[in-house]
């Protein structure tokens, strides 16, 4: 610990800690006494008062130390909860403190840079590829507030993003998302003929029109005879059905039933589930509670079959729409923040970005970004390429005791930013 932090001599020169002896004898109340009080229903405030009264050293402490003592005891005996609306700031902090590796070491300041450098705002058409539990996607959604387009490339068989669920956004925020499996990237260009045809009447040209293209995502679900899906977007229905499998381990029959219906992608969905429960957020979302409470297993199995059909249709529709939008090669930015080597991802997705639009690549390590930097230089068509890292230092601010916090985070990841521009003919002709 930091020594000299008490600042005793500064604040109250006549009191210092020369006579303070460290030892358990200073407090006359024993742990049992306190436990007895707790069991007897004595309130937290009362306990703290008793502790002060029975402290042999309290009156000898400096004002500051007394205050600190009270604060410490209060913290222990009267826990205060404040219910906060989830914001990107709170969730980013929480995830980073809980397990930075699960979000690729993405510290708050790095996330803040990503959002600004990528010029994220309402009406944008962004490509996002992340494996940070949906934290980046969720942050982008907050800044877009349901206006614009997000083409979200996900890995595995279904998107897993507990952080997005933790935001509990309205459906309108989710309706801008087009989920596309990353492993389809290389086949995206193949049926552009049909994409081009429909681009005429169905373009993601501007947000007024894209609202139309995204509407069916939710609208189509009205054809679901059970009506269970009307409130839930495609993504959620996938997630929640898996949520059932995950959260009903005691109910053996249910579990088998559900997972059999998903037998095809057990492998990766299993992986998603572990990811999700590790973050421990999903259980709290109202949607999952809704499904958990819904009906018997038989009914659920029925729903899940209908569900799968609708799901498949929605998936196909989303994919088609996403292809149409991407085919215009007119996206307003690309954000990559994943545990995968960024270079191949960036090189395949950058072609869809319009000239004069930002590119932001986050990586927990520096070397992959170095590689990405080199390859982009070689490719051409990106200017203002910059490899950066932010340094974050917090301060303790107290009268006469102000200093940087004793501990600080050593790394919050690295960022490669740039602006996509038109490539010259020579750049296009270069062998890759």
């Amino acid at each position: 610990m930091f020594v000299g932090d008490n600042g005793d001599s500064l604040e109250n020169p006549e009191k210092d800690n020369r006579n303070l002896v460290d030892g358990s004898g200073n407090q006359k109340l024993s742990r049992d006494d306190i436990e007895a009080m707790k069991k007897g229903g004595v309130g937290g405030h009362n306990i703290v008062e008793q502790l002060i009264e029975n402290s042999a050293t309290f009156s000898k402490k400096t004002d500051f130390a007394q205050e600190k003592y009270i604060k410490k005891k209060k913290k222990k005996y009267l826990p205060v909860f404040t219910v906060l609306r989830p914001t990107t700031r709170l969730l980013a902090e929480m995830y980073f403190n809980k397990g930075p590796l699960k979000i690729c070491n993405l510290r708050v300041d790095s996330l803040a840079q990503i959002l600004n450098e990528a010029n994220v705002r309402a009406h944008n058409k962004l490509i996002v590829m992340e494996t940070c539990l949906g934290l980046v996607l969720g942050a982008v959604m907050e800044r877009m507030a349901g206006e614009g387009v997000i083409i979200n490339f996900f890995t595995g068989t279904a998107p897993s993003r507990p952080a997005v669920d933790a935001f509990s956004y309205p459906d309108s925020y989710k309706s801008v998302i087009y989920d596309v499996p990353l492993d389809l990237v290389h086949s995206l260009g193949t049926d552009t003929d049909s994409a081009k045809d429909s681009a005429v009447d169905n373009p993601g040209q501007d947000s007024a029109k894209t609202e139309d293209t995204s509407a069916p995502l939710n609208g189509d679900t009205t054809s679901d005879p059970t009506g269970d899906l009307t409130e839930v977007s495609m993504v959620e229905s996938e997630r929640t059905s898996r949520g059932e499998a995950d959260t009903a381990p005691s109910d053996g029959g249910t579990r088998v039933g559900v997972s059999a219906s998903e037998a095809v992608d057990t492998d990766s969905s299993q992986k998603c589930v572990t990811d999700v429960s590790a973050a421990g957020e999903r259980e709290e979302t109202p949607e999952s509670r809704l499904v958990k409470g819904a009906g018997s297993w038989k009914k659920r199995k029925f729903v899940s079959e209908e569900d799968r059909l609708v799901k498949r249709q929605l998936k196909a529709k989303t994919l088609h729409d996403a292809k149409v939008i991407l085919a215009q090669r007119d996206m307003d930015g690309l954000i990559v923040a994943s545990r995968f080597h960024p270079t191949p991802v960036v090189l395949s997705l950058i072609d869809y970005v319009a000239p004069s639009r930002p590119l932001v690549v986050f990586c927990q390590h520096q070397e992959p970004l170095l590689d990405c930097y080199m390859k982009l230089k070689k490719r051409g068509g990106v200017v203002l390429l910059k490899l950066t890292e932010t340094w974050l230092r917090e301060y303790q601010v107290l009268p006469s005791r102000t200093h940087p916090q004793v501990n600080m985070s050593g790394t919050g990841g690295y960022l490669l930013t740039g602006t996509v521009v038109e490539r010259t003919r020579e750049e296009m002709d270069k062998p890759s």
């Binding site: 990107t88 300041d109 600004n116 705002r121 507030a145 170095l370 930097y373 340094w391 230092r393």
Partner: protein
């Protein structure tokens, strides 16, 4: 970096471009960003029949109008790019009237103030409007910014810029001494930002300005004494979660370094397959280049001769030869004897030799509803 000639505002078609929404093509009235080289940018207004003189020769607006942003434009003595304005590019090209905030602090401020579409923000002082543009981008299309400065010309200039940038409907710029008179606003704000010499005087007014459900506040101050006073006042007024921090960006220089191998005498045999001692000499994150008098050697020599740095490194842009970080490049003829002039070549992200060490402290706090 300054706007080249003074703009005659009479020919501006207000609202054609916007910092709040992208468009494809360059039009009259747009504020565009010219990129002339790395970190060499300037902003200019696109006007009919206007010709700007750049270091690469004349730039005719008429030839730009109707063409796409992000296009490479050929001038008589070189080429440049015309980019769509963004708050980030504006920050590095805007005409300074005051000290301004830069991208790193700005990102942190917008993030920590929980800004999003719909947020209502109060800012004082407006200064050169560097932060204001980023705020407006993030709160558009449904939010609002009330910004205050007690300097009449700054107020006027900021107002004009917001108008030209298609942001006028999202902001009011008022001339007012906020330390003395506050904002004259009550129960409207989700967030308050202060960049003033004495922010503590404004805090009581700021408290009144928050919506009933509370919100976030931030104060930027260069000196720790200011921070101290601000924090004390914040606490007295009932703000919580008070947090002071500094955030700095390090920009790395991506370069190729040629590090000569020392002559250990006797010529070490490096990297013979299966040879334990040899494989230890095999570079893991770069490769060995030999000065054998061939073409490679000439390149190496030339690089060193021209050497932009004495440590034998070249800026990446200039380097012709590069490997896939590890095993590419030299085919690794492990049996070659290391000669005197061999060097270890690797890519590195070089930390800045000098960088800004301090901009200011950011103090954040939350006001919860009672």
């Amino acid at each position: 970096m300054k706007r080249i000639p003074v703009v005659d505002t009479s020919c501006i078609h207000a609202g054609t471009m916007s910092f709040a929404k992208y468009k494809k093509t360059i039009e009259v009235g747009d504020t565009a960003i010219l990129l002339l080289g790395y970190d060499n940018m300037l902003q200019l207004m696109i006007e009919k029949d206007k010709i700007y003189q750049t270091k690469y020769g004349a730039l005719r607006c008429n030839e730009l109008i109707g063409t796409r942003y992000g296009r490479r434009v050929q001038c008589s003595k070189g080429w440049l790019y015309v980019l769509h304005a963004t708050p980030e590019l504006w920050t590095v090209t805007l005409p300074h009237r005051t000290q301004i905030l830069y991208a790193t602090d700005i990102s942190m401020i917008v993030f920590q103030l929980d800004l999003k579409p719909g947020s209502v923000v109060i800012e004082s002082g407006t200064g050169s409007g560097s932060l204001s543009h980023a705020i407006l981008r993030s709160v558009a299309p449904s939010g609002y910014l009330h910004t205050f400065d007690f300097h009449a010309q700054r107020v006027e200039k900021a107002r004009q810029e917001f108008e030209e940038h298609g942001l006028g409907h999202l902001v009011s710029v008022a001339e007012r001494d906020t330390c003395k008179n506050g904002f004259g606003l009550e129960c409207v704000a989700d967030a308050v930002f202060l960049d003033l010499p004495g922010p503590w005087d404004v805090l009581p007014f700021a408290k009144q300005a928050f919506k009933a459900e509370g919100g976030r506040i931030c104060s930027f101050s260069p000196c720790i004494e200011q921070v101290q006073r601000t924090c004390e006042t914040l606490e007295k007024l009932g703000f919580t979660d008070i947090q002071s921090l500094e955030c700095l960006a390090r920009t790395f220089d991506v370069r190729t370094v040629n590090m000569p191998l020392a002559n250990l005498g006797g010529g070490v045999d490096i990297g013979v397959e299966g040879d334990q001692s040899g494989s230890l000499h095999q570079p893991c994150i770069g490769h060995i280049e030999y000065d054998t008098g061939g073409r490679d050697a000439k390149n190496t020599k030339k690089r060193r001769g021209d050497g932009d740095t004495p440590d034998g490194s070249t800026e990446d842009g200039a380097s012709k030869k590069w490997s896939d970080g590890g095993n590419g490049g030299d085919a690794g003829d492990g049996r070659t004897k290391m000669s005197e002039s061999a060097s270890f070549v690797f890519k590195t992200a070089h930390p800045p030799v000098q960088m800004p060490g301090h901009t200011g402290f950011l103090t954040f706090a939350t006001l919860y509803p009672d």
